[in-house]
């Protein structure tokens, strides 16, 4: 059977324009939350977000490093973030100079949950105010979800499968899982896989706020707003950015002497079949998704040392996920650490599962688990589980589980393990 390993990573997040800056800020317990600067949010119920910072900021992102000026002007920010993260991952893997034969076997699976909402909003205003003749000719292909995969394939000449998942907040995890299967099924040898998102715009913030999904109680203390598992939590904080990994067939990676960061060994998917926004009250979809990933991995719960939770900081979701983990893990729950990095970078929606998978891989690389910030007063039902409050924790990390759940009741779980020495 063909095995799939991770040989490269790229990140654009509210805590850094690259992997190492982001990770060191995550481990230091920093938060990327702040008042919204992209637009005047003074009339909005939610006035905070985890924005990707400008290039001149200490943790900023410089789009001009990897994305042409012309493309930056034509496309929505999620595509810019995705192109950059994909470029980082290819550079990290040492695969920017592949032969034509290699590129025929290399593809992209980089999705988004929503796509180019800021551009849809602004061009709709152009249409309304100035008429159809002023709508940008780049409007459509600058907003489409599959245009991260499209742009990346054009930039790097990747002629293998060109795929883009759209499963709301499960997108990043599904993207990696689907791409790993493409390598297993011999459709490709190398896949750039991940997710990107950028919806910090008036219609995006208003829409999620009206759905009662966003935190609105901490507008004056943004860094305290994302607080998964804490009693005072009242919704998620919107983040933005991208995460992309290079997945590679194991024998190929070994033969070229690539550094292997992780092996993807389990992928589970399920549907809640319950409600468009509310999770199933017994967490049954989450349970079945994790159970499938575990079965595929061949591991037992006691083999898993770290779970990067979906844990968005919404009142309903966090404990249901924890309950499902508890049922799946049984007594092994006492040996696992489970944290939500959404406490630091907010919820990257379609990017979340990919960014958080990278945090899982780094946890294995560095043998340290990232913290859940703001967990001052855990909710009832959190007893007996190490939720890594406030501070990163050194510990053995042999295998990891990453959960992502999305609107529509779509669930994805990934299990990865440390490469064999």
């Amino acid at each position: 059977m063909r095995r799939v390993v991770v040989t490269g990573m790229g990140l654009v997040t509210p805590l850094g324009g690259d992997v190492e800056t982001t990770w060191s800020n995550i481990l230091a317990g920093r938060s990327g939350a702040a008042p919204i600067t992209r637009f005047d949010a003074s009339e909005h119920k939610c006035r905070i977000a985890c924005e990707v910072k400008p290039a001149d900021h200490e943790f900023g992102f410089d789009a001009s490093k990897r994305v042409d000026h012309k493309i930056q002007r034509q496309v929505d920010p999620f595509i810019v973030y995705g192109i950059d993260a994909a470029g980082q991952a290819l550079e990290h893997a040492g695969l920017t100079e592949m032969s034509e034969a290699e590129r025929l076997r290399a593809g992209c699976s980089i999705g988004a949950g929503i796509g180019g909402l800021p551009g849809i909003e602004s061009e709709s205003l152009v249409l309304a105010n100035k008429g159809p003749g002023r709508v940008s000719p780049h409007f459509v292909h600058g907003r489409l979800i599959n245009l991260v995969s499209g742009q990346v394939s054009i930039k790097y000449g990747l002629m293998g499968p060109n795929h883009a998942v759209v499963t709301a907040c499960s997108t990043g995890a599904h993207s990696i899982g689907d791409a790993a299967r493409m390598i297993k099924d011999d459709d490709a040898d190398v896949m750039l896989a991940g997710g990107a998102e950028s919806t910090i715009c008036p219609i995006g913030i208003a829409g999620f706020a009206q759905a009662r999904a966003l935190s609105t109680a901490f507008n004056d203390e943004p860094q305290r707003a994302s607080r998964p598992y804490d009693k005072a939590r009242d919704g998620f904080v919107m983040g933005e950015g991208a995460g992309v990994v290079v997945l590679e067939e194991y024998e190929r990676a070994k033969a070229r002497g690539a550094t292997i960061y992780a092996e993807v060994i389990g992928y589970g998917l399920s549907g809640d079949a319950y409600h468009v926004t509310a999770p199933h009250p017994e967490g049954s979809g989450a349970f079945r998704s994790m159970e499938m990933a575990l079965r595929k991995s061949g591991l037992s719960p006691a083999d898993i040392d770290y779970i990067n939770a979906h844990g968005t900081s919404t009142p309903l979701g966090d404990e249901l996920e924890l309950g499902a983990v508890r049922r799946l893990f049984g007594d092994a729950i006492s040996g696992v650490s489970m944290s939500s990095t959404k406490s630091a970078i907010g919820h990257l929606l379609g990017g979340a599962g990919a960014v958080e998978s990278i945090f899982c891989i780094l946890a294995m690389r560095d043998q340290i688990v990232p913290p859940t910030l703001n967990l001052d007063d855990p909710s009832d039902g959190c007893e007996g589980v190490d939720l890594v409050p406030h501070k990163a924790k050194k510990r053995e990390v042999r295998a990891v589980l990453n959960n992502s759940f999305g609107f529509g009741g779509t669930n994805a779980s990934l299990i990865m393990r440390k490469p064999e020495d």
């Binding site: 000026h69 012309k70 002023r134 940008s136 000719p137």
Partner: protein, 78 residues
């Protein structure tokens, strides 16, 4: 250089992300400045906005160099 030429060149530099010294009057948008057909649609829209002219599709199709654009605008602006 005329005021129109200056403003046209500024728009071209901004939209196509090219160095200002490459935007000579005889430069072809497609062959010399890396534009594609949609970039030209966007440039024409920007010229229309900037100069308050209307450039119909059949006229736009004939604009292939920087000089073509300047000439059309000079002849048609209000």
């Amino acid at each position: 250089m005329s005021d129109t030429a200056e403003r046209v060149k500024k728009i071209v530099v901004e939209h196509l992300g090219v160095e200002a010294d490459k935007v000579t009057e005889d430069a072809s948008f497609i062959d010399d400045l890396g534009a594609d057909s949609l970039d030209i649609v966007e440039l024409v829209m920007a010229f229309e906005e900037e100069f308050g002219v209307e450039i119909p599709d059949d006229a736009a199709e004939k604009i292939s160099t920087v000089a073509d654009a300047i000439k059309y605008i000079e002849e048609n602006k209000g």
